[in-house]
Symmetry: C2
Subunit: 324 residues, 2 copies
């Protein structure tokens, strides 16, 4: 690439960034597609996007499948709309690239939140091996932030490693449970205890709410947080819109408490560090595998490992030797 085409790229990005910061939905969608592409171009784009961020409130919502997260997110988004806020929703869908799960999710949503020009919904799915879902998700959130969405909700379907990281990277993290999850509830709770700034018991019209609430309270009373925040428990019936305002109030309380506190500083540094390492990981692999002949080498080594003529460790050493 010569310097004039680099310059053109920068100009293209400049006008795209201008349109994003003016809140143009099509440009927001285009910008997100760019960061999903693992193209070199996204780097220049994101460098210009980053200084425009930091105004919106990023709300991470996680929980097990079946907990009714989607309904909860939709109702919370509608509540914010009634307050006059613009709302961005990023749904993380770690499903197979072939399944179309994300598209299905979008279609169901569109019926509910309609074509409200002040609500932007995007599902992020795993599309390949190289582009990390976590990195593309936080980049998409930054783009929505730059576009002036006041509330940005990240919803994750899973409770996987990457998904947990993404939710931790939010300004406030909400963990959704349902009554009567059975034997696994202890294990689930143990796993998400550290993540939740706010806990929701959704489907609170079901049996077992009280015992789930008591168990959760007991677990929370054992935890000692650095910031001395005691995570509230909010009961909701999302499908009927019950408890949504209480959730919004809890979110606002957390935001207010932490505007004054000193603790979030270490959290922000940890998030920044994680973003840098994620991006570094992706870049290093891309550099190595995009170099000349690397693709053929990887194909050959994969065959050799598959037929057990070679182990993955020595295969990696061969790739590393070659690229140095």
């Amino acid at each position: 690439m010569n310097s004039s085409s680099t310059k053109n790229h920068k100009n293209d990005n400049k006008s795209l960034v201008d349109r994003v910061s003016a809140g143009d939905m099509r440009s927001v969608a285009r910008a997100i597609s760019k960061v999903e592409d693992v193209s070199r171009d996204a780097s220049e784009l994101m460098k210009q996007i980053f200084p425009l961020t930091g105004r919106g409130l990023v709300i991470g919502i996680t929980g097990a499948p079946g907990a009714g997260k989607s309904s909860l997110v939709d109702k919370l988004a509608m509540y914010y709309r009634q307050q006059g806020e613009r709302v961005g929703i990023v749904a993380v869908d770690p499903s197979s690239p072939f399944s179309g799960g994300a598209i299905l999710g979008d279609r169901i949503r569109m019926q509910q939140l309609g074509l409200d020009p002040n609500v932007f919904i995007r599902s992020m799915a795993t599309r390949g091996n190289l582009g990390g879902l976590a990195r593309t998700t936080v980049d998409a959130v930054s783009i929505l932030d730059a576009a002036g969405y006041g509330k940005i909700i990240i919803e994750t379907v899973g409770v996987g490693q990457d998904e947990v990281e993404v939710v931790k990277a939010a300004d406030v993290s909400v963990v959704v449970l349902v009554p009567g999850m059975g034997d696994d509830i202890q294990a689930i709770k143990a796993g998400i205890m550290e993540i939740g700034d706010i806990f929701v018991i959704n489907k609170a019209d079901r049996e077992g709410v009280l015992s789930t609430e008591k168990e959760l309270e007991a677990l929370l009373s054992l935890a000692m947080r650095e910031d001395f925040w005691h995570p509230p428990i909010v009961k909701t019936v999302a499908t009927e819109g019950k408890g949504i305002e209480e959730l919004a109030v809890a979110i606002e309380s957390y935001r207010e408490a932490h505007l004054k506190a000193i603790a979030p500083d270490s959290r922000r540094r940890a998030i920044a560090r994680w973003r840098i390492v994620e991006l570094l990981r992706e870049r290093l692999v891309a550099q190595t595998l995009e170099s000349e002949g690397a693709s053929d080498l990887l194909d050959r080594l994969s065959s050799e490992v598959a037929s057990r003529h070679r182990d993955p460790y020595s295969a990696v050493e061969e790739i590393l030797r070659r690229s140095q």
Copy 2:
């Protein structure tokens, strides 16, 4: 490191590998701890372990939290024990490193499968940023395979990106559902359709089994698999041991069908490729961040990104420039 210490390392590994291949449980545990440590040493160990693998059947079991996977895995393990098989269980727990979720899981388990010397149970948790959970899990499976465990069961708590990859890397993948998961069932199913070689509807004594089964059948009838395998649906009540034999039969049928088929070849190559790329990713980041001064640089850049004086992309570029 001079050549004599390298030689000693190799000798240490040699005797460890010997003890692993003799099926010594303590050595298996030690070997797995080594691959979790992201220590340089694990590479030599795994090179020697790899040629000993390929004999055991690796069964991946996934599904939402609350689906009763742990009970199902325990009962399946007991069934295999009754058949005289040695069983390894690797539970993937993507929970916070502080929560102790994995340890909790182990303790509950030990009461059930007792101290049977022919059952090896290990929980893999996220312990840091650098060691990938997916890579350490497949390495642990290889070690159990080399140690002569005939059936190796990988259980994942989540349905995240890494967890899906791990399950895909198994010889046979089992997806566990429960009746009446509500609104999210379409989305979940869409996401896991491609993964499941066998589907289990657990807690099949609950309401809604029939409709869940019908929905699932409808979805499966739409899918066209490369290997023409039609994934069977097995109904279980794991806590009562019901349907466990049927599940074992389904697993065996899949294994037999694929011993003769040609399709798994491409699957094996895809798995090998994924293992190489995962390991490469980890190695490249470790090399870069373990170089002299890199830690201080990362700290400084993290602070700058956290205070918005810098964007993550230019931070990564600075790290890359420095390391080249």
